[in-house]
């Protein structure tokens, strides 16, 4: 009798999960619950195109958050990211590279595109900007800590994240100029 009851509960839960279509849950989606790609936010890229984080699923990603007006740490983190991308074998469809701006106040498709040109970023890299709420949620999901100063600059953690094709954080490289070897090894193990 107890067994039947338990089974009924299990089945009814499985059943109701399939019928769930609340705004935040995607029961039908194959994405794991901890996937960054579960975030619903919409972003504008350097070409003015709109994407949703969900659209990024399917390829592993190298991800950083920075702001393009930054003149001290960001050129260094971009240089670091270029080396990591090269060593990891980043290429369209294989490992994508995405830069998300922390600066929802001043970033635009134009400033992103100017940054990509100035830093000579490979054309397949994606640069994205969105509103303050979307930035806060993505940063919180990744674990990026940041603070906007009154002059419009940001203090922020410098971390390169590697997400698998389902949007789960597999490994991360903390700090500018820290050794790449272990990070690259972890990436290659998880492609």
């Amino acid at each position: 009798m107890n067994l039947i009851l338990i089974l009924t509960v299990i089945f009814s839960q499985a059943f109701s999960a399939h019928h769930e279509h609340g705004g935040e849950t995607k029961a039908a989606s194959p994405l794991p619950g901890s996937s960054i790609f579960q975030l619903k936010s919409e972003w504008t890229n350097q070409k003015g195109g709109k994407i949703k984080l969900t659209d990024l699923q399917g390829s592993p990603h190298l991800v950083v958050m920075l702001y393009t007006r930054c003149e001290t740490a960001c050129p260094l983190i971009v240089a670091d990211l270029k080396k990591v991308a090269e060593d990891a074998g980043a290429a369209p469809g294989k490992i994508e590279v995405s830069i998300f701006s922390l600066d929802s106040f001043r970033e635009s498709a134009e400033s992103l595109s100017a940054f990509a040109a100035k830093r000579k970023l490979p054309p397949f890299w994606g640069l994205f900007t969105s509103d303050a709420n979307s930035v806060a949620e993505l940063a919180a999901s990744l674990g990026v800590r940041y603070k906007r100063l009154p002059n419009g600059d940001f203090i922020h953690s410098n971390v390169i994240y590697f997400l698998n094709k389902n949007g789960e954080i597999v490994t991360q490289k903390e700090g500018i100029g820290s050794p790449r070897v272990e990070f690259i090894k972890n990436i290659k193990k998880n492609i």
């Binding site: 999960a17 769930e20 901890s34 949620e137 940041y146 100063l149 600059d153 953690s157």
Partner: protein
């Protein structure tokens, strides 16, 4: 008759909707400044008189079943989320009026947004809680010294100069921009306790008032948006005069 109706209405709304108190426009002077930091003007805001209770949070979960304990995405909360409840929608009777705890930053934000409100900023919370008032020193430090003390009903003690209750001595509270608190150069380096103790050693706080504030900042710097902790709850605010 009209008066009775009015009194009834006021009592009813304060019970059902939760009472808010006003914090006027105030200049907040940060105790710990990063280079480039300046004083911040906050308010006027309306802030919840008391932290959000289990009962209030249950109402929200019933309306938004995707935030129930068994349905919540791991992205939004760790597996301690609402773990003190009997089930997805069942509370122990004596927990109804206790502040809700075991809630993550993500869901605290969503709760406030659902009420047309938001989480307070660090500056707003520090001002509204009157945390720099020296008369609270002993209370704050005594409480910080006893981690995991039992929770009690919200609103049991008199409010501070704004009428804000339970700001000290009951729970820690989420603030919207907790991640701004970066105690060490790279907050991701080492565990949260490492950075807490490194910070503690380097600060050499002799002023107990500074020490209490430091404890709050160290605590915030150790948080992650998914954390759902036994003594961490929240309350909401809205800008005064803004109707959403």
């Amino acid at each position: 008759m009209k008066l009775i109706a009015l009194i009834f209405f006021l009592t009813y709304t304060s019970i059902v909707l939760g009472k808010e108190v006003e914090v006027p426009k105030t200049i907040y002077v940060p105790v710990f400044k990063d280079p480039g930091d300046v004083d911040i003007e906050i308010g006027p805001i309306l802030i919840d008189e008391t932290p959000v209770t289990n009962k209030e949070f249950l109402k929200f979960v019933k309306k938004n079943p995707q935030f129930a304990r068994s349905k919540i995405l791991r992205l939004y909360a760790d597996n301690n989320y609402l773990s003190h409840w009997i089930s997805d929608t069942l509370l122990k009777k004596n927990e109804q009026e206790l502040p809700v705890t075991y809630v993550s930053w993500f869901i605290a934000r969503k709760y406030c947004a659902a009420q047309g409100k938001r989480l307070p900023t660090i500056a707003e919370w520090e001002v509204a809680s009157d945390a720099q008032n020296p008369t609270f020193n002993d209370k704050i430090l005594n409480w910080y010294a006893k981690p995991g003390s039992d929770l009690r009903k919200v609103g049991a003690e008199p409010g501070n100069k704004f009428g804000v209750k339970d700001a000290h001595g009951l729970i820690w509270e989420w603030v919207d921009n907790f991640s701004e608190t970066i105690m060490s150069g790279d907050s991701r380096g080492g565990s949260s306790t490492d950075s807490l103790f490194c910070g503690g050693a380097s600060l050499k706080a002799k002023d107990p008032r500074l020490y209490a504030t430091f404890m709050r900042f160290a605590f915030r710097s150790s948080l992650n948006a998914k954390y759902s902790l036994p003594n961490l709850g929240f309350r909401c605010v809205k800008d005064k005069g803004v109707v959403k």
